[in-house]
């Protein structure tokens, strides 16, 4: 698949440079103003040197790997820095350390990175290879030949067969379908799974599959240069002295799959890297975490600190040389070169830069990468984030953002498919004043319907039933079986009044292609209750009513739109009666009822309230018997109006209004917009973790609010729900101001009266102030208002108001607006944002937010491909943030604190020693110790801590969401923490140096020999250091797994093993120059005094830390401390059953009507344009001549490409566009604009 491209770019999203390189390479070609392609003329086309169809995402080959990879690695600041150090070390005058002290860690770091890069590249090679060697049929010299994709050239004509991937961007020439139509699936391009239609020019479609004619085809295409606009193409085809204009509807883009079309021929216009798919690759921003940025700042600071130390020591050296060193000439003559004290100081500066380089930890970046990789794997491996029904595990698609998951403050969530399943379920109904759908036990109590326990109604009497349909109240079936006329009429209405297209692949296997899932749910319900909608023609609808085929004549569809909020059909039943069936929003429909219905209306209204209280979406149903005369009269008017040229819509609307009067109420339906599992609980939990959740949806206000209520984001007990829906800037401003005043007003009063000055000062900062507002508000803002509110003048007040509200819902927003809202918060609040969504329209916000999460396991993959993390269910977000994110953050912070501490403690000993060795850049330690300290002696324990540590276990992390707070406040690692831990390191180094110094002033061995020599001193301090940092990591480790034990004890053991090995006789005899410490370990570590010094040093370094931590935990216990104590206490008592809060919906709000969409399909149906000839169906429909658009019908074989509930009808309705499509277009454009 060319998904390779997407996958590649995402997997390698950090690799900007190589994509850039590709672009740079293509600049010459990209500058072309116009593209000329002549069919079947390779010689002509080669003159322009267009890119061939070979894809190369891999960066290296066997020969270039080493140089290019090294070049890239040395572009990184840290690596370059160490390279410079290495070069410095080769200058004998300043080389205070042997070359190997730097080169060993550097090589190790480079090697690890190179291996990683090489593996990545190997897989890229493999996928490139796989794509490049795909076969396609190319027309060469009048014959169709199989060629590899990479050999396809611009101007070739290639043949595609059904279900094949399109090899390059093609101009469709002809296809097997009539009128040169062909169908493609563009999931790889834009994530939409529905089929799209493409049509060839008539002149070219006449070529058919006549190879000879095609080979003679010599049209020349003049078109735009390669670009990344997926939905635009402009060009002209010149052939036989005629010019034909070309647009996107004639293009097949690489990455699409041919569907429902036996074959087609296309002319290659763009190939390889110039295809629109590839031009869209790699345009992802590289996201970095705030810790990353902080780390870079800190490294720069450390660098500055290093230079300061170097300068201090260099000055010290200059003074020393003048005061002391010049007199020491007797025993240490210099070369003439260094005779000048200032010059000596200059050299010393560099020498100290070399020695002290370990404060900038070389292994820091690699270790951080390793940790993040590990954390990502833990996310991938988590079974609690694995969705078994779709077999989808959670996936960390980027490995660089983990710790930021522990700092999220704002979540921006899509609604459809994210909070909701986008599955509508017929849940309850009210028929003629009686409700159905609730189950009562023998005591008359309502039974909580859960899937497992409550028995479902048996629909086996109905052979055409949908097996997935569940209904629990058997009384409704009884009513059907008793043939109660109104119940029958109710379901008849549901089966007739809709715009669904049925599809029957095999006998009895019905699939409904519904425009909105609500309709699908209603018709499916009718189907199960014995009113099966089986087939339709433009003029008839065939139902199977309780097994009997009944054909209704469809006379008119009074279509749905947003103003009418209802739809009706007028049918003639077999008995010849004329009936109008109508369904719509209750408020609308109730106004149009017959006065005699008033009592029923009140009952039904009560039921509707009840349904709405449960968060269900409701529709009212009504019908009317029509008089033949009245109808004829009306029909004439309708026909007249439908041909009107101006104000047609209004005229039609008025006519519809006229006939939809005096209807009789049948009842109401209640549809559950099924939330994803655990959504309210998750939202409640995340809210407790002080994460603000904003819902950004393209849905309309009512639906969004409805979901808000059912997710418990909106509640009845909220003080005010502000709805901003102004159409002009001023209106919006006014509405926002009013809202702000309303929120601020009472609180302000409270402050001025209740609290004294001191406290008001405390609350002066905005963020604290927000939290002091006890009253709960919600803000709902409409898309068109949002457009105004996002303007520069209003955005501040928008942010103010929004952040004062507990809940923010933005509805009818475009994808661009979603991104803008995220951007707004990023800019104004400096908070970590997370965007979660499932569809192509969420891509922009997913890319904009600090962290993007995609819901996987859905059909479209676009959101997932753009995301940083993906999983199948919204509720996993809770675990991702509160468990994985929190742990990652905690681990990373502890890791960094310890790492800096360790390196300072290790390195600064040299600084102190400088004052006692004439600032000569003499190292304290053995050079091998310096080499190995960071990479061998102390690397693994801290990695183990960084990978496995758990301050609080997962149950408690979830149970106490406020444990998440420290991450949001950035408390665990910030500049202050950095200072604390470096200060600790400095103190430790001071103790490490001066205690042995004091002890060794006069020390001798117990055999009288002297011991205060350089080497013993080095071994004593080094051993103390290793022990101290091991004890310290032990203190920092909260969670000692076997691995931690193994690494900590192992590191100590390895230290002593290596120490003795390096100080052994054997290794000295082999390399006398490299191991001058021969015998030091033996001679010093057998002395009691050395051990006494080590013990003292360790205790002095560690005890204050223990005391400080203990007292701090006692005086100012953090939430974490408390929970840890609690956790320990419970562990001792044994596990307790946890009663997790169940979130109950408390809303009693009247809900929205259940139409999710816009203008209906009425016209399409009556025109018959979307009718097709089913091959397996028993009946055939006459071909219908449509009034506009295509001049014929396409026959679609093998139409069941995917048995989705999505509306396949849309595929054929090129005249109509759902809003989501339009918004998706916006996405692409917006992204391009970025």
């Amino acid at each position: 698949m060319d998904g390779a491209c997407f996958r590649e770019t995402l997997r390698t999203r950090r690799r900007w440079p190589d994509v850039m390189a590709i672009w740079k390479k293509d600049i010459r070609i990209a500058l072309e103003e116009e593209r000329h392609v002549r069919a079947n003329d390779r010689d002509y086309n080669e003159r322009f040197s267009y890119a061939d169809n070979r894809i190369k995402t891999a960066k290296y080959n066997v020969f270039t790997f080493l140089p290019i990879n090294l070049f890239e690695q040395f572009q990184r600041f840290a690596n370059a820095y160490f390279l410079v150090l290495l070069i410095l070390q080769l200058i004998p005058e300043i080389s205070s350390l042997s070359w190997f002290t730097t080169i060993v860690p550097l090589v190790l770091v480079l090697a690890i990175t190179a291996v990683k890069d090489a593996t990545d590249d190997y897989f890229r090679h493999k996928s490139d290879q796989q794509v490049n060697t795909r076969q396609s049929q190319v027309l060469i010299k009048g014959k169709l030949q199989n060629e590899k994709w990479m050999n396809v050239r611009v101007g070739d004509i290639i043949k595609l067969e059904n279900n094949q991937f399109v090899a390059a961007d093609l101009l469709l020439l002809s296809s097997s379908e009539p009128y040169g139509l062909c169908y493609i699936e563009t999931a790889e391009l834009d994530g939409e799974t529905n089929l799209k239609v493409r049509q060839a020019l008539t002149v070219t479609s006449d070529l058919g599959d006549d190879v000879a004619k095609l080979a003679d085809f010599s049209g020349e295409v003049i078109c735009e240069p390669p670009n990344n606009k997926l939905d635009k193409f402009t060009g002209t085809l010149c052939w036989k002295d005629n010019k034909y204009s070309l647009d996107n509807e004639k293009m097949l883009l690489r990455g699409c799959v041919l569907r429902n079309t036996e074959w087609c021929f296309g002319l290659v216009i763009f190939a390889g890297l110039q295809t629109k798919l590839m031009q869209n690759c790699g345009r992802t921003k590289f996201k970095r975490t705030s810790i990353d940025k902080l780390m870079n700042t800190l490294v720069l600071w450390i660098f500055g600190f290093l230079i300061c130390m170097g300068i201090i020591l260099a000055i010290g050296n200059t003074i020393w040389e003048q005061k002391v060193g010049s007199d020491f000439w007797e025993y240490l003559q210099w070369k003439e070169l260094t005779i000048n004290a200032v010059f000596s100081g200059f050299l010393t500066f560099w020498s100290y830069i070399i020695i002290l380089n370990t404060v900038v930890p070389i292994s820091l970046y690699v270790s951080v990468e390793v940790l993040r990789l590990g954390h990502s794997y833990f996310i991938n491996w988590d079974r609690r984030m694995y969705y078994s029904r779709k077999d989808t595990p959670a996936e960390a698609r980027t490995t660089t953002l983990n710790e930021e998951l522990g700092q999220v403050e704002f979540i921006f969530s899509d609604k459809t498919g994210t909070l909701t399943q986008n599955i509508m379920v017929f849940n309850k109904c009210s028929i003629n004043g009686k409700t159905y759908g609730d189950v009562y036990d023998e005591f008359g109590h309502k039974v909580d319907i859960t899937k497992q326990k409550t028995p479902c109604v048996d629909f086996s009497f109905n052979p055409l039933m949908d097996r997935k349909f569940r209904f629990h109240d058997s009384s409704l079936v009884e009513a059907i079986k008793l043939e109660e006329p109104l119940v029958q009429e109710f379901f008849r209405l549901l089966a007739l009044c809709h715009t669904i297209m049925p599809e029957e692949r095999n006998e009895g296997e019905l699939v409904y292609q519904a425009q909105s899932p609500d309709e699908g749910a209603l018709v499916t319900a009718a189907r199960n209750f014995g009113f099966v909608f089986r087939s339709r023609t433009p003029e008839t609808i065939t139902l199977y009513e309780m097994g009997q085929a009944v054909t209704y004549q469809l006379l008119a569809i009074l279509d749905f739109n947003n103003v009418r909020k209802r739809m009706s059909v007028i049918v003639r039943n077999p008995k010849g009666q004329l009936k109008l069936y109508s369904k719509g929003a209750d408020t609308i429909l109730f106004d149009r009822l017959d006065p005699s219905n008033e009592e029923l209306m009140f009952t039904t209204s009560e039921h509707l309230n009840e349904f709405a209280g449960e968060g269900l979406r409701t529709l009212a149903l009504a019908y009317k018997d029509l008089d033949e005369d009245v109808f004829d009269e009306w029909m004439k008017k309708l026909l007249f109006a439908s041909t009107a040229l101006d104000n047609r819509e209004e005229k039609l609307g008025a006519l519809y209004e006229e006939i939809e009067q005096g209807m009789l109420l049948l009842g109401a339906t209640a549809i559950e917009d099924k939330l994803q599992e655990g959504v309210p609980e998750t939202i409640a939990c995340l809210t407790l973790a002080n994460i603000k959740i904003w819902v950004l949806t393209g849905d309309k206000l009512e639906t969004a609010m409805n979901i808000g209520y059912s997710c418990n984001m909106l509640r009845d007990d909220m003080n005010t729900v502000f709805i901003i829906s102004g159409h002009t800037m001023l209106e919006v401003q006014q509405e926002l101001r009013t809202a702000k005043e309303k929120i601020m007003g009472p609180s302000k009063d409270k402050f001025s009266s209740g609290l004294d000055m001191e406290k008001t000062e405390l609350y002066s900062s905005d963020s604290v102030f927000e939290e002091t507002i006890i009253a709960e508000y919600a803000l709902i803002i409409n898309g068109h208002s949002l457009a105004h509110a996002l303007e520069a003048d209003l955005e501040q007040i928008l942010v103010d108001v929004a952040c004062l509200c507990k809940t923010v819902i933005c509805c009818r927003v475009t994808p661009l607006q979603k991104a803008l809202v995220v951007e707004l918060i990023k800019r104004h609040k400096r908070a970590v944002t997370l965007a979660i969504g499932d569809g192509a329209n969420d891509v922009s916000m997913i890319k904009t937010a600090h962290i993007g999460v995609g819901i996987s396991g859905q059909e479209g993959m676009q959101a997932v491909l753009a995301s940083d993390y993906s999983f199948a269910q919204f509720r996993y977000l809770q675990r991702l943030l509160l468990v994985h994110g929190r742990w990652s953050y905690h681990r990373m912070c502890n890791f960094l604190c310890y790492f800096f501490y360790k390196n300072f403690a290790f390195t600064l000993v040299h600084f102190w020693y400088g004052f006692l060795c004439g600032f000569s850049a003499q190292t304290v330690y053995d050079q091998w110790f310096i080499t190995l300290f960071n990479i061998v002696y102390t690397s693994l324990p801290v990695l183990a801590m960084g990978l496995f540590d758990q301050d609080v276990n997962e149950q408690y992390s979830l149970r106490f969401p406020n444990l998440y707070r420290p991450g949001q406040l950035n408390q665990l690692f910030n500049k202050r923490k950095f200072f604390t831990c470096t200060l600790q390191g400095v103190c430790t180094s001071f103790i490490l140096f001066f205690i042995p110094y004091g002890a060794f002033m006069t020390a001798v061995r117990d055999d009288g020999a002297h011991i205060s020599d350089q080497q013993t001193f080095a071994v004593t301090i080094a051993t103390s250091l290793v022990i101290v940092v091991s004890v310290q990591i032990g203190l920092d480790t909260n969670y000692w797994t076997a691995v931690n034990h193994f690494f900590i004890w192992g590191s100590l053991a390895v230290y002593f093993a290596i120490l003795f090995a390096m100080h052994s006789d054997g290794i000295f005899t082999i390399f006398p120059n490299q191991f001058p410490f021969i015998g030091t370990a033996r001679n010093s570590l057998n002395q009691k005094i050395v051990w006494l010094v080590i013990l003292l040093t360790t205790v002095v370094c560690i005890m204050p830390m223990v005391a400080v931590r203990f007292i701090k935990a006692d005086l100012y216990p953090t939430q974490t401390d408390k929970v840890r104590l609690l956790q320990q206490a419970t562990r001792k008592q044994g596990p307790q059953e946890q009663n997790l809060r169940r979130v109950r919906r408390t809303s009693s709000r009247r809900s929205a009507y259940a139409f999710a969409h816009q203008q209906g399909y009425g016209e399409l149906i009556t025109s018959g344009k979307n009718m097709k000839v089913p091959t397996s169906s028993t009946s055939t429909y006459p071909l219908y001549s449509p009034t506009r658009g295509l001049t014929g019908t396409s026959s679609v074989k093998n139409s069941g490409v995917n048995d989705t509930t999505r509306d396949q009808t849309e595929t054929y309705s090129t005249g109509f566009r759902r809003e989501s499509d339009q918004s998706q277009e916006v996405t692409v454009e917006d992204l391009e604009a970025r």
Binding site: V324, G325, D327, F328, W329, Y331, L332, Q333, F378, W381, R383, Y386, S388, D391, P393, W887, L916, C917, G918, Q922, Q950, G998, M1001, A1003, V1004, R1005, D1006, D1007, G1008, H1010, I1011, S1012, D1013, Q1015, L1035, N1038, W1040, T1041, V1043, N1044, D1065, F1068, P1072, N1073, I1078, G1079, K1088, I1089, L1092, L1096, M1103, A1107, F1110, D1114, L1115, V1123, R1124, L1125, L1126, Q1128
Partner: protein, 344 residues
């Protein structure tokens, strides 16, 4: 698992992948920390008292003989022109100086730990590898003590060897006005590993160590070449000369003492009896140019080595602090533990 294929991507259920590895989760609780501090504190006080008392029993006789003051016996030797100067330092012991007595020389303000001083040697040479006598190993930097002014290779090369301490001492007990020489034992004063492994003499040529040094010159400051360092003992020559080995083990700090001799033989095996002593110093080693000091130290040792008050005091201080901290923590704990209820 219902279906292998359906759950193909289900993550493994292991303690490792699910982060449920069994673990020990220690908490710094009062029950551990406070008694811990107390125990460590008491232990340290104990060790400190032990160290301090031991240190007090060690006798030390320390004498600066640099000759800075005009009335000091070695003042005249500080005049650079005065070669082969000998001076005499007298001291008296009021009690028996228990043996074995160790005789150290000490230098201060002397930077044996200066980096360029420290690197100025060639281990290849010092392992007796004659290949490196004339050519120099590339990694090593003996300059400017690599070649003499006539470009002859110096062996042993480098600043450390060149600057070997060359004052010599003779100790006499003055008994009734007569000097009785105290025998000084110079054997085994260096580390065993230095003498037996790290430093090797070149193999003698025709039975003569001197021949092995053919073609090389002595270090500039040395009065005699390496193979004639000890004229009294032919086995104590070359790179295996004990004084040389002691010198080559560089001191860590600018103030240091190195073992010169042991007093273990004959009448003085039990120690130096009370009385008057005279130390004859062959004053060769100039230190005044860099404001250095020279001293001699007589000391005996205990299980913990030489006299070391620092360590004993440090242990006492740290131990006391630990005890104090444990009390402070106890107070803090008692006061705050019960004050706020666990609202976690």
């Amino acid at each position: 698992m219902k279906n292998e294929g359906k759950s193909a991507q289900r993550p493994d259920n292991t303690a490792f992948t699910q982060q449920r590895l069994p673990a020990w989760q220690p908490i710094l609780s009062a029950g551990i920390v406070i008694p811990g501090f107390l125990i460590i504190g008491l232990a340290f006080i104990g060790i400190g008292i032990g160290l301090f008392l031991t240190s007090q029993t060690i006798q030390v006789q320390e004498m600066d003989y640099t000759g800075v003051e005009k009335d000091s016996p070695c003042f005249r030797c500080t005049i650079p022109s005065n070669l082969n100067c000998t001076c005499e330092v007298t001291f008296s012991l009021s009690t028996l100086f228990t043996g074995p007595v160790f005789f150290y020389y000490g230098l201060s303000n002397y930077y044996q730990n200066f980096r360029r001083y420290g690197v100025s040697k060639d281990y290849n040479q010092l392992t007796g590898d004659t290949r490196y006598f004339k050519s120099r190993s590339p990694e090593e930097d003996c300059s400017p003590y690599s070649y003499d002014s006539n470009n002859n290779p110096i062996v042993p090369c480098g600043a450390i060897a060149n600057s070997i301490f060359n004052d010599t001492f003779e100790l006499y007990q003055i008994i009734n006005g007569t000097k009785k020489q105290v025998p000084l034992d110079g054997r085994g004063i260096s580390w065993w590993t230095d003498y037996n492994i790290k430093y090797r003499n070149p193999s003698p040529v025709n039975g003569s160590l001197a021949k092995a040094f053919d073609g090389t010159v002595k270090p500039i400051n040395w009065p005699r070449p390496a193979y004639e360092l000890d004229l009294t003992d032919p086995n104590n020559n070359g790179f295996l000369n004990q004084d040389f080995l002691v010198w080559m083990r560089r001191a860590a700090l600018p103030q240091f003492r190195k073992l010169y001799r042991r007093i273990t033989d004959g009448d003085y095996a039990a120690g130096l009896p009370a009385g008057n002593y005279s130390l004859t110093v062959h004053y060769n080693y100039p230190v005044l140019s860099f404001d250095g000091r020279k001293k001699v130290v007589f000391s005996n040792v205990s299980w913990m080595g030489g006299k070391n008050n620092f360590l004993g005091l440090a242990y006492l201080v740290v131990g006391s602090l630990c005890v104090v901290m444990s009390v402070v923590m106890l107070v803090v704990y008692a006061k705050f533990k019960f004050s706020d209820d666990d609202d976690a």
